[in-house]
């Protein structure tokens, strides 16, 4: 009888091991399988092609009010920025100038990024408090201020991957570095032809913090 119990226990153990190893093919058997509900709660990113965009929609017309309520205090009534908080629109045509203005509408290559960032991180200090519709409305309002869509354009999960941003083709890939003169590890060691004239001193700029 004991032998039979022992046999059954051993058999159960073999089945148990078989279930956890071969069925999963996991090397360490650590961690838990995530449920679809758990993943859905945290998987909030939106990709340029619109993958991940949550169901919802909004227009610039409807977005003006929510923008004024939760964005304007830091970013200005027209996205022009306030104090040291960044402007959100403007700067078109400035990227090749001495003082480029890199805003969401002049520089950012994808509308999806604006949605993704606002939903996950804004308003500053109240992350993920906006509804999906509110987020679409705010993005639509910014795109409207940047002359990228019309005021009554209905921005949604269906078309956010198709918005053509002005600086879409403004980025270079792949990384070309190392991009400096290659001296094969043997740079000049003596009597090198370099200018040693001092043309600027940080002390004269006088913006360095000092200990109290």
């Amino acid at each position: 009888m004991l032998g039979l119990v022992s046999f059954i226990l051993s058999f159960s153990l073999i089945i148990f091991l078989a279930n956890t190893t071969t069925a999963n093919d996991r090397k360490y058997n650590l961690g838990q399988i995530a449920t679809s509900e758990e993943v859905a709660g945290w998987d909030i990113d939106v990709r340029p092609d619109g993958l991940g965009a949550p169901i919802g929609s909004g227009t610039a017309f409807s977005g003006e009010e929510i923008y004024a309520e939760v964005c304007a205090a830091c970013h200005g009534d027209f996205g022009e920025g306030a104090d040291r908080w960044p402007p959100l629109v403007g700067g078109e045509g400035s990227l090749a100038s001495h003082d480029p203005e890199k805003t969401a509408t002049s520089y950012w290559p994808y509308a999806s990024t604006i949605f993704d960032y606002i939903y996950r991180a804004m308003p500053y200090g109240e992350a993920q408090s906006l509804s999906y519709d509110e987020t679409y409305e705010i993005v639509a309002y910014l795109l409207y201020m940047g002359d990228i869509i019309e005021e009554d354009f209905v921005l949604s999960d269906k078309n956010i991957g198709e918005i053509e941003m002005p600086n879409r083709d403004g980025f270079l890939l792949p990384d070309p570095r190392p991009d400096i003169r290659n001296t094969h590890g043997n740079p000049c060691m003596s009597n090198c032809q370099v200018s040693t004239k001092i043309i600027g001193k940080a002390r004269d700029i006088d913006v360095t913090p000092e200990d109290e």
């Binding site: 093919d25 996991r26 990113d45 001092i198 940080a202």
Partner: protein
């Protein structure tokens, strides 16, 4: 009191050094004010042939400081920030005091901070790492789960891509700390992602990872899968103890040799996909604008760089004679092979001594002895890594990239030593 040298506990309180100091009304001289007390006057009473108080009386017992802190005379060795740089301290940066550090290990409390939504406070019991997307099994790991995997212990530098970003147009900040201090170097303990991913499996189409933080900025970066499987780590410890809250407690991503922004702190999720996610950080930030108006994207590697930490604007030369020039060098492409030093603004160079250990993608310490006799010097250092990459001048970088790229300024800096021993950050041209 002088004769009371019994080492029994009944006398301990009486002989506590702090009590003695209060009794002598001299506590003001030992305040924690962040000043370099080396520059304060010495007390001749403590010098030979006299007997200093600390030689005669008992000091603090054990457990006065259950977690030890630096000497009160080191109060000037702190992280510092530049307030005008940012709109809010919760989305800001401060700088490692490289000029006061020795060797290659950055003490945990001095590692520079860069936050985008403040420091998250996370009970490790509530920590979860989710792995989803193009994997065979979408999974969730606790911190205890992670610690049961095979572990790795590695030294790596972490440098913000914007380190030196204020110096593109000219010398702006007069300090080693402010111009080079967005770098730190610690030993990480964690699990290699190549091990962790054996649990989830990977779909063939998985080419990119979205790493996501659980802080209030929801920090996100896309990382190619080759890098993830090569040497990336989920780390829970630095320099032998748990990560500091400001460095991502209880767990962060380690992306050796690549820009610090990718080392997502307070990590909560890794999503696998077939394309990059083009997050805010890798499009609107951390792209390098050229004079053409086009910007380089996905410039991840931190190229070779070096800095003379002393003498430096914070470390003037105080006496004529022999000095040890000290500095740090590092490269995101591997080991440092050589560091050259110039005292005449780059006309003539001599090779400095590298100190072991010389590790891949880690800070490397160098020194160079020199005599100073009160003359003006133009100090420079130049790193060469094992790929034979030579640290460039700012002129070489500007010629190719202009002055608006903000990130990846790995150029040679110049410290002017004046005849009075003061040191200035200057630009040559």
């Amino acid at each position: 009191m002088k004769k009371n040298k019994k080492n029994d506990l009944s006398n301990f309180k009486k002989l506590n050094r702090r009590d003695l100091l209060i009794g002598a009304s001299s506590i003001g001289a030992f305040s924690l004010a962040p000043k370099n007390l080396l520059s304060e006057e010495v007390n001749p009473e403590n010098l030979p042939p006299n007997l200093p108080e600390w030689t005669q009386y008992l000091g603090d017992g054990v457990d006065v400081n259950p977690y030890g802190m630096p000497s009160e005379f080191e109060g000037h060795v702190i992280r510092r920030n530049v307030e005008w740089l940012t709109a809010s301290a919760e989305s800001s940066v401060n700088f490692t005091p490289l000029q006061d550090l020795e060797g290659i290990v950055t003490p945990n409390g001095l590692c520079f901070e860069r936050h985008h939504g403040g420091v998250s406070v996370i009970n490790p019991q509530d920590f979860r790492l989710m792995i989803n997307g193009l994997v065979d099994r979408e999974m969730i790991f606790t911190l205890d789960d992670l610690k049961r995997f095979p572990q790795t212990n590695k030294f790596y530098f972490l440098e913000c891509a914007a380190n030196g970003g204020m110096e593109w147009r000219g010398s702006q900040l007069n300090g080693c700390q402010y111009t080079f201090g967005m770098v730190h170097n610690v030993q990480y303990t964690g699990v290699k992602l190549s091990d962790l991913l054996l649990e989830t499996g990977l779909k063939e189409k998985a080419k990119w990872v979205l790493a996501e933080g659980s802080d209030s900025s929801g920090m996100t970066r896309s990382i190619p899968i080759e890098k993830i499987l090569d040497d990336c780590i989920i780390a829970w410890a630095m320099n032998g103890e748990a990560l500091r809250p400001e460095q991502g407690y209880p767990a962060r991503l380690v992306v050796p040799g690549w820009e610090g922004n990718m080392w997502v702190k307070w990590i909560r999720r890794l999503e696998f996909g077939d394309k990059p996610y083009m997050t805010r950080e890798e499009t609107s930030k951390y792209t390098d604008l050229l004079t053409s108006g086009k910007a380089r994207m996905f410039t991840w590697v931190m190229d070779a760089k070096s800095v003379i930490t002393s003498p430096s604007p914070e470390k003037p030369i105080l006496a004529k004679g022999l000095h040890q020039l000290r500095g740090l060098a590092w490269s995101g492409r591997g080991k440092i092979k050589r560091v050259d030093v110039s005292i005449d603004g780059g006309k003539n160079w001599k090779t400095a001594q590298l100190h072991s250990p010389v590790l891949s993608k880690s800070l490397t310490r160098f020194t160079f002895p020199f005599e100073w006799n009160g003359e003006e010097l133009l100090l420079q250092s130049r790193a060469i890594d094992e790929t034979n990459y030579v640290q460039p001048t700012i002129g070489e970088l500007q010629k190719i990239r202009g002055v608006n790229s903000i990130y990846h300024n790995n150029s040679i800096a110049t410290w002017l030593v004046s005849k009075n021993g003061k040191v200035d950050n200057v630009r040559l041209g």
